[in-house]
Amino acid sequence: MTHSTANPADRVLRVGDHTFDSRLFVGTGKYPDLEVMKTALEASGTQCVTVAVRRLKLGVPEGKSLLDYIDRQRYVLLPNTAGCFTADDAVRTARLGREAGMSDLVKLEVLGDKDTLLPDPAGTLEAAATLVGEGFTVLCYTSDDPVVARRLEDLGVAAVMPAGAPIGSGQGILNPNNISIIIERATVPIIVDAGVGTASDVAVAMELGADGVLLNTGIALATEPVRMARAMRAACEAGRDAFLAGRIPKRRYASASSPTEGTIAFAGE
């Protein structure tokens, strides 16, 4: 049995013109080395990997570079604007990323400050408007604020990516109420981005009805990144399936799983 036949009824995820069978988006930062990253990406089953845009180091003889470890037949590149704190910087970085990657996808981040790395709403909205206007397929990192999420959808982003918790914090989904409000009102895919610490965090996000999850540190800095990548893949499939399967309601008291009738005659009966 393979997983593709195990999930016969699920539809592919569409983001702009791209379609994905895997709903996991994985970053390429912070791995012990690029070989581990390559194996972890494979284990994760992802079809889309984020990359950062940074100055080439001049005068340094070029060794192997990141892209030598990323099979572009297998993975779609998703350049990010990480490290940008203004709309203008993010737009410039996005343009460079598109030119370098020959891809229209961009993970837009306009950050508010260095302590929280949470997005700046005003800058994010401004940059999103510009990039949508320039034809980018914008996957937009944002807080878990349902109002900002809606504004971004109105601007035409291809996917809204609310933070579950601060980047790299590993705290999981801090405010499931907000995330599920965003999902319930969404007109584009919602991909939970940032904050995932372990597999159950991914499952929880998908069970809320998220269309996908993006993560990086949770895999890259785990003691065993490859095993954790496998865990994240399975958790993403588990959470998606559980969402589609329709879970039982919660009850405060018990409900027997074995028949309550037909027991043998008990002492005293």
Binding site: G27, M37, V51, V53, R54, E99
Partner: protein, 66 residues
């Protein structure tokens, strides 16, 4: 003439275009992107883009990130 490339002062012959600059810096043009004075230079425009003293160039590539 002197340019600023990735934040560092860099001297190149006059005239030079972006293609010349990349070749001089031994950079494989396929994996990078270039910005001149805060404006993107498309790959197809490298040869046609003449550099001017004082130009600020950014040459970037992809690194690991999330």
């Amino acid at each position: 003439m002197t340019l600023t490339v990735n934040g560092e002062a860099t001297t190149v012959p006059t005239p030079s275009n972006v293609e010349d600059l990349l070749r001089r810096l031994r950079i494989d043009a396929r994996q990078v992107a270039v910005e001149r004075n805060r404006t993107l230079v498309r790959k197809t425009d490298y040869a046609a883009t003449l550099l001017v003293a004082g130009d600020v160039l950014e040459i970037v590539s992809f690194v690991g990130g999330g």
